[in-house]
Amino acid sequence: MARILVIDDEEPVRSIIRRSLEHQGHEVVEAEDGAEGTRIFEASPFDLVITDLIMPEKEGIETILDLREGYPDVRILVISGGLSFGGRAVDRKGPLQDAEALGADASLAKPFDVLELMETVERLLNRSE
């Protein structure tokens, strides 16, 4: 079981991620934006952070940079809207790729496949354990 922080300003999206990952036996905490996410993370660190990119308070890229600086070991998964067909990003120089270049470990385009989300999370969690 791992502790996972989900940062997204859309409640329905957070809810899907939470229920999918709780189903896998993980502990999931939700945050509405990058600012709240960073606060919650700093109070008690997590194994994995799943973050959106476009949010009203403190965007995803900024959040990723801050987390990477303070916690080099945390695994980061980015989930965001972007140019994708059937969950496969087409615009391969888009924001998801920028996020990976800036320190995210993996990315999924919205709408994502729940099974792919579960697989990606397990892969990231098992990587350094």
């Binding site: 859309e10 329905p12 809207g81 087409v90 919205k110 709408p111």
Partner: protein, 384 residues
């Protein structure tokens, strides 16, 4: 007597500058009676400030002024982008040609000789004022268009970031029902859930098509070029067609020669998928769609041949335009947003390639596209 039509726009302002009070009075009252609002100045050194503070629509400027030379003032107004568009009519008693040429080359629109011929002046002022009005109007329209373009861009942004999340919610929840409740569901409910999923996936495709077309049109889609096998890309595209891929036959080039060409594999794969999806929609269920990749000569070619009703000749260009769907005949036609082929055209053209269709009515359609062998940008290192 020349009768001037009352075309002077009452909202247009004319600034008259002359140190002779008699000329000022005569010109001002003539132009005021034509409906212009008149401001007056008698010194050259007051002109620039006045024009910058309250820009007139037209400037009538004497060449010889106390505190400043009219031609020099004219030049300074032209050099300042905030005043360059204001037409200047110079007035002078100089009859010498050089002086007139000086004035015109300083940017004056017209040259009026003193003593002034009032009817002549009124016509010239009217023409210059009309030109200025048309200029203002076109600037306003340009601004409206620019604002509309911004609005369109933010609309596309809205579509991407605000529709993707609810789509995630719909598809995600349907998948969670599958995962958690699948065993408790009767076949009818399962079918209904599959129907919902298919609809949401279709909606996602439409959203992505709109975004892709918008990005390709505005030139903000960067190609990710790889020197890769075109058959490989076609095979990937066929593989992604799901159960329908059983009705697709891939014809390889002779001698099993792989056609390698610089292309954005993600985009071209999507192009082939769109062509295949159309071809399968129009081909009777018991027949197959043929995909052929060939690479002889300067260009590499992909052909998708269907057994559908064919595309009427007058529609063969239109179908590659946005929303250019042709009114269909028969019942096999599906509705779509009409962006699939526009996307294909834009994506192929972004590679420096060409796309088209050959068709004989009743004999099926052959959609083809070609990519230049030299690559859209051969300077990009392979696999970057």
């Amino acid at each position: 007597v020349i009768t001037l039509p009352a075309e002077g726009d009452s909202t247009q302002r004319v600034l008259v500058v002359d140190n002779d009070p008699g000329v000022l009075e005569m010109v001002s009252s003539a132009l005021a009676s034509d409906g212009y609002r008149i401001d007056r100045l008698s010194r050259g050194d007051e002109v620039l400030n006045s024009v910058r503070e309250t820009p007139p629509d037209l400037l009538l400027l004497d060449v010889s002024l106390p505190g400043g030379d009219g031609i020099e003032i004219c030049r300074q107004l032209r050099d300042d982008p905030t005043t360059a568009h204001i037409p200047v009519l110079l007035m002078t008693a100089h009859r010498r040609r050089e002086k007139r040429l000086d004035g015109i080359s300083a940017g004056a629109q017209d040259f009026l000789l003193k003593p002034l011929d009032l009817p002549d002046l009124r016509i010239r002022v009217r023409n210059a004022a009309e030109k200025k009005r048309l200029y203002d109007e076109s600037q306003e329209q340009l601004q409206t268009i620019t604002e509309l373009e911004k609005l369109r861009d933010s609309l596309v942004h809205m579509i991407v970031h605000d529709l993707k999340s609810p789509l995630t919610a719909v598809l995600g929840n349907l998948q969670l029902i599958d995962l958690f409740l699948s065993e408790d569901l009767d076949p009818n409910t399962k079918n209904a859930i599959e129907g919902c999923k298919a609809g949401a996936h279709k909606m996602d495709e439409m959203v992505s098509s709109i975004l892709a077309v918008s990005k390709l049109e505005s030139g903000t889609m960067e190609l990710h070029l790889e020197f890769a096998s075109l058959q490989g890309t076609a095979e990937d595209a066929i593989g992604l067609m799901g159960p329908r891929s059983g009705r697709v036959r891939l014809v390889r080039p002779p001698e099993e020669e792989e056609v390698h060409v610089s292309h954005d594999t993600g985009l071209i794969q999507r192009v082939i998928q769109n062509l295949l999806s159309n071809a399968l929609d129009y081909t009777p269920k018991e027949e197959t769609v043929v995909v052929e990749v060939s690479g002889g000569g300067e260009r590499c070619r992909v052909v998708v041949a269907d057994r559908g009703p064919g595309v009427p000749e007058e529609s063969r260009e239109l179908i590659f335009e946005k929303f250019g769907q042709v009114a269909g005949k028969g019942t096999g036609r599906k509705t779509s947003v009409g962006l699939g082929l526009a996307f294909c055209r834009l994506a192929v053209e972004a590679h420096g390639g060409r796309i088209g269709v050959e068709s004989s009515e009743g004999g099926g359609s052959t959609f083809w596209f070609e990519l230049p062998r030299s690559g859209a940008d051969s300077s990009t290192p392979p696999g970057s």
